[in-house]
Symmetry: C2
Subunit: 342 residues, 2 copies
């Protein structure tokens, strides 16, 4: 019989944690034990997950004992504090936070794009920022046509990127506005209902906010190309759980539109939705709850024969976080199984 | 005493029509007679406007008689049909539709930018597309720093651009989604509540939709520079009445960020909101109901010393339509008054 795995989820009560549980089930992950961890506020809560009743605990060395894989999705502070403890306890860590993403010793992995960044010895793997994941999924298939030199991207980011409470805030504020009330923002610095704003992360002296800096650095790391020039503008929109991106891509040579569309053929995890006759292109409501990243509005630039424009939309909680994490886990268990065959 | 003017509004019951009436009052337009026109469905409706009770009528040569200025905001079909009749009746026409915008004999006017396109003899003036107005208001002040060669813009367009019924559809659909119902789109081809989509206008063989083609052609015409290369991606977002635009601008020379910020000083109709410390930049809720176009997130590109990035947000019904129309009327009556002094 195939080896089964003991799995832990730190941040199990959050939006990504919930999605991780759903995906372990959906994808029939070879699960032996499942342990759920969250902050002290959730300790003792019972969650039905993958056919068992799990009592939520706070993370600890004891709790991590005999776990094979621990998913972290509780912010970079928690990841920094507990990842070494989980690794020390013998687990492999798949981290959704930004804690280790730019660590030269930690692979930053989108399995469709750079699975080789993982090795049999990987103990910590980082899941990229959700906006970076959508971007690389949308542009990586085009690299077979030419070298990507430059990317100018404006984002339409969902509330889910800021967690379950932020999604609830969008819903609550929307109700308030419809009732003629003025919402008081809590999770976000500004009203999100029927509004949008520049991404709510600190801006440094370069003029970029933290989210934009992640998109630049992580895109370069995932694509193993520090020369790619990425100019992002990250914007939060009143949408629940799928990010959309409007992308202008400049290559080192002329690119034909038809060839660009064909470049996605057979690329796993990407679905082209590019129906000009019916004016149907990637939309958050179609991306929500699905695994595929949607790509469309593919068109050659009117002025630059080396440039393409397109739209990308993908579920922030799925491919942007939980699904990508599970895919990394699936790659990791291949190594473990191969090793046990030797 | 200053001369007063007889004014007509075709499309008086629409979203822009309502805003025109508000602005005539707010700006103390020297109004003598006011006549409101709409489709047969609204004939006979009584609207309180500028201190008088107006009975809505269908447009006709008779109705236009002795009017000095007629605003058209009822779609390009109505404009094409009734503008010649209004002009024949002796009125000057200010047209919000796309009917005459690219007509070489019709000035396309944003009064802060190209007031000289109007002359004492102008009988028809066109109001640009709302997305083009926001764009030129945001970039025109920068021309004193260098020649603008290229603009790559992604838009976040409000429902109001599609009219009052579309705004209501956003509200109704939002309520439906909050109640767990699946909305059926009527005004838009796709669900607008908690969703976004590529602009709902036909796409031609260039891959651009009609809205994007307007942005390209009208920007070039307003700025009197057919060499400006504009690459737009127009997207509809679930916001009521202000358009936002994320813009990448390439100049013919290096541009300093500080100089760019200063370039807006004293430029009428633009307000810079660029508070990095408090993460406060142009937002639709701040732009809504105000006359100024908001500009912020002004930053030098990380890779191209000749490029700037910024965000623009402006009220689609005000500066994007009704306000710009009234401003054109104000320019026109200056000519009439100057002429009567001679």
């Amino acid at each position: 019989m195939d080896r089964m795995f003991n799995v832990g989820i730190v941040g199990a009560t959050g939006a990504v944690g919930e999605e991780l549980i759903k995906l372990l089930e959906e994808r029939k992950f070879p699960l032996s034990d499942l342990r759920l961890f969250a902050s002290a506020a959730s300790k003792g809560r019972v969650i039905e997950a993958c056919g068992r009743s799990c009592v939520v605990d706070v993370p600890s060395a004891d709790g991590f004992r005999s776990l094979d894989i621990v998913f972290f999705s509780a912010g970079s502070g928690t990841s920094k504090q507990f990842t070494p403890i989980a690794v020390e306890a013998g687990a492999r860590v798949i981290d959704n936070s930004s804690a280790f993403r730019m660590d030269a010793n930690v692979p930053l992995v989108v399995p469709e794009i750079n699975p080789d960044a993982l090795t049999a010895d990987t103990t910590i793997a980082a899941v990229p920022n959700c906006t970076a994941i959508m971007l690389v999924m949308g542009i990586a298939p085009l690299r077979k046509l030419g070298k990507i030199q430059r990317v100018i991207v404006s984002t339409y980011q969902a509330a889910s990127g800021a967690g379950a409470k932020a999604m609830q805030e969008l819903i609550d504020q929307t109700k308030q506005v419809l009732q003629g009330e003025k919402p008081i923002p809590v999770q976000f610095p500004h009203q999100i209902a029927f509004n949008l704003f520049s991404h709510n992360t600190p801006i440094d002296e370069t003029g970029l906010n933290e989210e934009e800096r992640k998109v630049v650095a992580e895109t370069q790391k995932i694509l193993s190309d520090p020369s790619i020039e990425v100019t992002p503008t990250c914007v939060r929109v009143p949408i629940l759980r799928a990010h959309t991106e409007s992308v202008h891509i400049i290559f080192d040579r002329e690119i034909e539109e038809g060839a660009a569309r064909l470049a996605y053929d057979g690329f796993p995890g990407v679905r082209v939705i590019d129906d000009r006759a019916n004016n149907t292109f990637p939309m958050p409501i179609d991306a929500s709850g699905t695994d595929d990243v949607l790509v469309g509005r593919i068109r050659k630039d009117l002025y630059n024969i080396r440039a393409l424009n397109l739209l990308i939309s993908g579920d922030q909680l799925r491919k942007g976080a939980a699904l990508n994490s599970i895919q990394i886990a699936e790659e990791m268990i291949k190594f473990v199984r191969e090793r046990s065959l030797v």
